[in-house]
Symmetry: C2
Subunit: 701 residues, 2 copies
């Protein structure tokens, strides 16, 4: 069937399939005509709901029904092929088994895109997965686009297009935040949350099983969508990670993107039942999104709130943005300060000049360093906000005041500071509902973000800072291009062979010698600085330490002989082969590793070494290629990061050397597609550099 | 002056001051008559606001003003002493310097309690602190109670008493959640947040500087307040910690208490400026509140939401409560499941019978293990909820469904399950505002908690679980009473003396001998199992390892002689004194320590040993006396807890032995008030017990 479709369409128009796919994507999300397949009179059915929610659609609506010629005033036709025109969008509210034929018909009729409400595809097992693959093949071959299956659709309020089967969705207001969710239910949830914050959506889409249209396609569309000022993204698992990264990295410096990624805990079995996909590693997904410039939060509440704030105000790229807080009440001010500091936001003391100006506007004994605690808002409040905003060291101003209209008019107190400096000025408040509504209206014209309560104001500050930092990291990434390598590596790698590769990538290793017999060992021993470590060198011995194959602190000939005797007792196919190596200097042990992720490609992990670090999962991950700033950011995210800075008598670690090793591991994976996994464990680091004490390379199949 | 007051009142009535203080506390928070001191015509002044907000007060209101006889219809008198009756409550909206005289007058006139709006006391420095001490002294001597100074007051909607100077506070509805906040501004914030959730307050109090009435006083009052079903608590610092613990522990099994504690980051200087108090250790405050049965959350949003849920539904005491989730949409269901599992909530597979029943109510291929993903709510929904509730392994049911009135009527879907089983059934939803209002009204009679969105539903589930666990821990605490000891310890303690104390408390130490000369060492060496460790024993050597005073792995006479030679080279006032000790078995190293906190008394810390554990602050703290269950809970809260369970070839740790050591450390502190600090570092633990390898006792001044 799909060959059929292919031969009758898509060719001969002078347009490539890729161009057609892109064009059809635009058609379906800005439709001028829509068909509902499975149109129904029964209000409990999705096909009926679809008609209801499309009632206000300003374009043409048609029905497709095997028998009826009209349903609720909508003209119906027996099949796609009978439609009077090739609609931009078709809604398929029919069982899974009927969808493949319908998709073929839609493609044949020149429909732009379809969206399939029904489940019963990949998420239910093999038979469903086969149907889904057939749909995907039709799309690839014909240029027809498919949203879903297994989704509640999308909402495009500005176009009057409510392509969703859930009643009430039409109450979500038009606005400038795009929602892009892997799940239809989450798409609606975010839409309603934005609505409750007084924001609206430009386009809200639930991807469902994403047989054709995936997050990358939609981000590409939204990046160029003039109605969209910020994007709220929800992901469960990502199958084409590298493409998503590339798309996102092109957008985030222009438009803020906030994301929630499911999978903080192990929810694998239910997740598979839901979308038919494995979720992959959440850590890698989060790291990739952040590297691409997105802000990742943990909850939908935070997602909606963060998107709301970023759609209104944004800081320019900066590694650490400094905030000032002006509070009308000390107690909430303390909680906001606490939350911002906990989130790592810079909260510097105001300059002396600013403090003097502010002190002149407040009663004596009030706290003016930062936060500025006004005790209770007074007539000087607007000037205080402005003075703080004019402090050159401050990037954004947070203001909190419980509603007290007689002493604080937020619009008048905040706008002058923003207008004079262009710096974001955010307002946090609480009070009687009627006061809050009035304040929201008063702040509407200036688009000043209004946050309900201390926690949300602090969240907003942290989000502005994180967004600015991720922009900065993205725009400061200077990565060395990978070299096209001519020669593939061949394994298996014993420790010495792995270390040779490390050295070829500029990673220091201890001076050593690989010896085949005692005579060679004795010669090497004479040459090396003592003490040395003597290790069995055998590819058939996996756990050298456990079998007694690693002898440390060998300083004299007697100890050397004893060590070699001990190694000789370990059974191996290559008896007598040992690696003799200078003992490493004191330092802090790290792990630097890399793997090739099926979705994200080469990823690098940096963590503290040792069993406890493993038990508390103290590591950071990022996509290769890495820049120095990436590695610095990774190290800064480690819980035990103070271990690197001379903690408890440990040496101060050479971060540049750690960065060089991590960058090199990423490069190895990029340049050698045959490598599946690399691990340096430990990487011994002190003030004068980093040395790979042991390393491992595993080739892929 | 205060002597004056004391001589004229409080004596001769047959009532103790303590009784009078308690009675006056009740009077002031359920007042029948109120006086406003500093009553004013100027609407920007607190004295004017106080009159406005008291306008609806059903009892008598008087003004105190030096010149006016009437302000806005309220009769005014020149001073307290001229009032026609001893009012239950007086609001002091006058400058700090005038408050001491006013308090003395109020006491003389038999007023129940006063509340002082003004700042200018302890938070501003020494002079203010002196005023505050004078106020406290008047209260102690006369029985007059004082709320504040430096607070916005309190709200008692059911009594029509809005004793607060902030306009709009009178919109906060009457309800059954008490708010108790250290800060007046936070008190109002929580009140407004509860109001926005559709809940109201029974009594909302901001303590301010707490010169007299503190959190313990208020909790005592609220514990017996019939209008109060749950308590939302906000603390910054606690000065009388042990008393607060005792009060709280008497309440929490009857009434749920949720708390926020400021100070996650270092906000010391601003905090002092705010309340005049040092905040103390937040970790200890949180631990104490949790031990006393409270639920501690991080934000005011969570505080309000948790109090709302717990005021409606509560689980009985249980260590791990099991939850089931029934969701109308898979995507939000995944996020809820993820959040619950991340929070450590038990989320077991439903029993086979339950799954069968539910499978019969759903289309094939839906996920029924837990969560139950209905795809979209259908007619079987109420029966599914009920079947899950009837599963004996399940303690509470969470239901999520985006508003779809045509297929899901929440009241009908949820109530039968709750009525049949008595188990909490919580409803999470999102949708158009009008739908949500209707649903809220529909659920009002059954008091079913309604949570807006997946995150809050998950929070509610986690809070129910935590509340049940803390109740369980509190009701399962069996602690050994401390013995009255006759003999105080005298120090300083060298390692051997400290270990003797450890042994007297049942804590194992390595077999050892304290030797004064080589002859004694050699005799001991012959007796002990080899290898041994040889350590310098000198109270004037603080860092034994650093000076080369600890020699490990001594197995033969030659090594012993070498070790003793090395120790002989270390300068000390007690040359030749060494501790010789059997080497410890392999195991996992922990730290068990104890200190005497000025507010909380003896507290015990348990953590993993080593530098990294210190760098990531992986330790848990609790008040002594400890029970086994406390220590188990502490160990379970360690990030690296898998280190205790045979991680990566480490031995499985004997938790009972760890518990015994931690309990003993607490007991030492309780029985020996002269001890300031105890530390066992490391406590070496393996499958067969725990041994204190080194220990330290520091006596107080």
């Amino acid at each position: 069937m799909s060959e059929n479709v292919n031969s009758s369409h898509g060719a001969g128009t002078g347009q490539s399939i890729e161009q057609k796919r892109r064009q059809n994507l635009g058609r379906m999300f800005n439709p001028k005509s829509i068909a509902v397949v499975g149109a129904s009179q029964d209000p409990a059915k999705a096909g009926s709901q679809a008609l209801s929610t499309l009632a206000k659609f300003p374009g043409k609506v048609f029905g497709v029904h095997p028998r009826e010629t009209e349903i609720r005033g909508v003209a119906c036709y027996p099949s796609f092929l009978d439609l009077p025109e090739p609609v931009d969008l078709a809604v398929l509210a029919i069982p899974a088994r009927a969808c493949v034929q319908a998709a073929a018909d839609a493609a044949a009729r020149g429909v732009g895109g379809i969206f399939i409400v029904s489940g019963g595809f990949g998420e239910t097992g093999e038979d469903g997965a086969k149907l889904e693959q057939e749909l995907a093949a039709i799309c690839q071959e014909t240029g027809l686009r498919l949203l879903g299956p297994n989704t509640s659709g999308f909402v495009r309020p500005s176009a009057g297009c409510i392509a969703s089967f859930v009643p009430g969705v039409d109450t979500i207001a038009a606005g400038n935040i795009a929602v892009l969710a892997q799940s239809g239910g989450v798409n609606l949830s975010i839409g309603y949350l934005l609505d409750s914050l007084g924001d609206g959506v430009s386009l809200a889409t639930g991807l469902g099983n994403a047989a054709d249209i995936d997050a990358g396609d939609m981000l590409d569309l939204l990046g160029d969508d003039d109605d969209t000022a910020a994007i709220a993204l929800h992901l469960e698992g990502v199958t084409e990670g590298r493409a998503l990264y590339d798309t996102l990295a092109k957008i985030t410096l222009r438009k803020p993107v906030v994301a929630v990624v499911a999978g903080r805990s192990d929810i694998g079995e239910f997740a598979v039942s839901h979308t038919g996909n494995l979720m992959g590693s959440r850590d890698r997904t989060v790291a990739a999104l952040e590297q691409a410039g997105a802000v990742v939060v943990d909850t939908l509440d935070d997602l909606a709130q963060a998107a709301s704030v970023l759609s209104r105000r944004r800081l320019p790229p900066k590694q650490n943005s400094a905030m000032a807080l002006i509070t009308g009440q000390a107690g909430p001010g303390l909680l906001i300060t606490d939350a911002l500091k906990t989130a790592g936001v810079a909260f510097p003391e105001l300059t002396g000049d600013t403090q003097n100006t502010i002190a002149g506007l407040l009663p004596p004994m009030t706290f003016t360093k930062n936060p500025i605690d006004t005790g209770r808002p007074g007539p000087g409040f607007p000037d205080i906000v402005r003075a703080a905003a004019e402090d050159a060291a401050i990037d954004a101003i947070l203001v909190f005041g419980i509603s007290e209209p007689s002493v604080l008019d937020p619009a008048k107190a905040l706008s002058p500071a923003y207008e004079a400096t262009g710096k974001p000025v955010l307002f946090g408040t609480l009070g009687p509902a009627s006061d809050l509504e009035k304040t929201f209206d008063d702040l509407k014209d200036s688009r000043t973000p209004m946050l309900l309560g201390p926690d949300r104001l602090a969240l907003a500050g942290a989000v502005l800072d994180t967004d600015a930092r991720h922009q900065w990291l993205l725009s400061h990434r200077t990565v060395q291009p990978a070299q096209a390598t001519t020669q593939a590596l061949s394994g298996p790698f014993d420790e010495d062979a792995a270390k040779q590769v490390m050295r070829s990538y500029g990673i220091a290793t201890p001076r050593s010698a690989l010896c085949e017999n005692r005579e060679e060992v004795e010669r090497a021993f004479a040459d090396l600085s003592k003490p040395v470590v003597v290790k069995i060198a055998a590819t058939d011995v996996a756990h050298k330490t456990e079998v007694g194959g690693v002898i440390l602190n060998v300083t004299d000939d007697a100890q050397l002989a004893e060590a070699l005797d001990q190694i000789d007792r370990i059974p191996t196919a290559t008896p007598g082969r040992v690696l003799i190596e200078e003992m490493a200097p004191q330092g802090v042990d790290l792990i630097v590793g890399g793997v090739r992720d099926p979705s994200w490609g080469p990823v690098v992990v940096v963590g503290l070494g040792g069993v406890l670090a493993e038990a508390v999962s103290d590591s950071a991950v990022a996509l290769a290629p890495l820049s120095d700033t990436d590695v610095d950011h990774m190290l800064g995210s480690l819980r035990g990061k103070q271990m690197l800075d001379g903690f408890r008598g440990l040496p101060r670690c050479d971060r540049a050397a750690i960065a060089a090793a991590a960058i090199a591991v990423g490069k190895m994976l990029e340049e050698h597609p045959e490598i599946a996994e690399v691990e340096i464990n430990p990487l011994r680091v002190n003030e004068s550099g980093a040395v790979a004490l042991d390393s491992l390379i595993v080739l892929g199949k």
